[in-house]
């Protein structure tokens, strides 16, 4: 286990380094922030001073090395726009995105697993066919459109749920959370459902496929031959086996949910990281963009690690060893 973790750490460092280079080059290629940040009326001397202050006068490789040196000390640069450390800006907004993503994932599991289980056990029933058709809708309807529809129906027409913002928050562990207040929770419902729609469909399809496959296995027939009740066979023998692929995919999807909650956050004006990055791209706020992408990379690496460990807990045949 220790060897495994050590290897993963070294791998992670290499990935982060490679990504930092790619991100830096990519962001550099998007455009020149000077054009946007400095007013067109400024004269040449003002321009020069501003460029120097932002460190944009150095050659690219030097800019990269400076960035790398600072990053090692935990400094990912200051936002051009907010004039605050980029890292701090992002971390402030992270709880909002995290609770949204976690909410969406939990919703996906709570809704997706039972529906998928049912569809897998009774593949020919009308309800199962309805569930499967619904999951196709979940895959193919664009997130922003569903978000707008949700707002129209539940916020505008029925007036049941608030449509924008996080509502009341409580500070726990130095971060502000919405899900701990009734008002905040009400604000979270629609964005979380919106974000989880794709994942619900994914979980339904994975679960159904897993159940269909597992039911044909000899060990299920043997379990029946042992005289176990159908409930026990489904909930223990089948369920534990299908959890393996579901955990893998949902776990990996979690990183994606955080990274791409951009659309949902924009639609519901949810003040999370996704909204921040969109705003930053609009004004070419390089440090924020770079810092955001680096944090996402770190997050993906961490999530993959957690998935691997969970996987080994679920599947006794997988043992985490130093061997690749």
């Amino acid at each position: 286990m220790t060897v495994f973790l050590l290897r993963r750490l070294i791998q992670a460092a290499a990935v982060v380094l490679a990504m930092s280079l790619l991100v830096f080059l990519g962001v550099y290629a998007i455009g020149d922030p000077v054009e946007i940040l400095i007013s067109p009326e400024a004269d040449q001397i003002e321009r020069e001073r501003a460029i120097q202050a932002l460190g944009l006068d150095l050659p690219l490789w030097q800019q990269y090395l400076v960035f790398l040196g600072n990053a090692l000390r935990g400094d990912l640069g200051r936002s051009f726009v907010f004039n605050e450390p980029a890292l701090q800006l992002i971390l402030q907004r992270m709880p909002a995105t995290l609770e949204l993503a976690v909410g969406a994932t939990v919703a996906a599991l709570i809704i997706g697993l039972p529906l998928g289980l049912y569809a897998g056990l009774r593949p020919n029933s009308t309800l199962s066919k309805g569930i499967m058709a619904g999951s196709i809708l979940g895959f193919s309807l664009p997130t922003f459109w569903v978000g707008l529809m949700l707002i129209m129906v539940f916020a505008v027409q029925l007036g049941w749920l608030p449509s924008t913002g996080r509502g009341e928050t409580v500070e726990v562990l130095g971060m502000r959370w919405s899900f701990l207040t009734a008002n905040g929770l009400a604000h979270m419902v629609m964005p979380a459902i919106n974000l989880s729609l794709f994942k619900i469909s994914l979980v339904i399809r994975l679960t159904r496929a897993g159940v269909r496959e597992t039911m044909l296995m000899d060990y299920v027939k043997f379990a029946r031959a042992k005289g176990l009740s159908p409930t026990r066979i489904t909930m223990v023998h089948v369920f534990k086996n299908i959890l393996i692929p579901v955990v893998t995919v949902v776990g990996l999807e979690f990183g994606g949910t955080i990274a791409f909650s951009v659309v949902t956050e924009s639609v519901f004006a949810w003040p999370g990281m996704g909204k921040l990055i969109i705003d930053s791209i609009n004004v070419l706020d390089r440090p924020v963009m770079v810092a955001y992408l680096m944090i996402i990379v770190l997050m993906f690496i961490t999530i993959n690690l957690i998935v691997d460990i969970t996987y080994s807990l679920l599947d006794p045949r997988v043992r985490l060893e130093g061997k690749a």
Partner: protein
Amino acid sequence: MTPPTLQVRNLRTHFFTRAGVVKAVDDVSFTVDRGKVLGLVGESGSGKSVTGFSILGLVDPPGRIAGGQILFKGQDLAGLSEEAMRQLRGNRIAMIFQDPMMTLNPVLRIDTQMIETVLAHEKVSREEARQRARDALGQVGIPSPEERLRAYPHQFSGGMRQRVAIAIALLHKPDLIVADEPTTALDVTIQGQILAEAQKLCADFGTALIWITHDLSVVAGLADDIAVMYAGKVVEQGPVTQVLDQPLHPYTVGLIGSVPSRNKRGEPLRQIPGMTPSLLNLPAGCAFRARCPRAEARCAEPPPMAEYRPGRHARCIHPYEEAVAA
């Protein structure tokens, strides 16, 4: 007179597929009594496994029992409800499967899989169930059963896993065990050990055993009676030594002739020409006709099951009356 442990009468198990009705088991009858071993022999697809699953009520759709009786100690299983059947399965009637690598759930520990079997049929404490599981493992010759209980299936070899499966089958000391080619996937040495184990079982507990196999040499040493299946029908049955020494049906003769060890060195190995017919469109009359060296025009009529000698039945109109040197 107590009824025999198992009496199968005119069992028909058919699969109703889109391509037509597959008569996987078509008019099969046999009897197994306390402490006796019946060898159910045949090629792949002859319906022997489906017969086994029919007895346990584990035929999956589109298949179902289309007719006949399965009398277990006088009670007809074919008419039982699913819940009544579940209470018998693993309790009074147990089954052992062919591939020990596949029969144990890979993500559950051995103790979980054994204890749940005990608890499915008896109200005992977990601790007691655990003790029963440990004793059963010891009984089938698994060393240090206490430790092995905590292991996962992948930590066992194939032979050991089959022993675990047998131990699970033994937990409730069933009256009948259906063993579906339980030694096919194993080494010869392990096979020998498992066979000895099975024999001891029947003798000790009076368990009736149906041993499904395509290996005649296994049946020769183990079974009391033998039923040879071909294309869903029993074509010959009787006491094992008599059937193997003096087979009546040409198919049995061919099957015995196909055993390589009976061949003289240097001679080409004998074989039955052709292959088993598709169960979807069986030829009228005797299904073995197309491969039979003695086939004639009369074989186009379905041959009845007839008793040619006391206790010796065959489904053939011109059986080998005298001993053939197979």
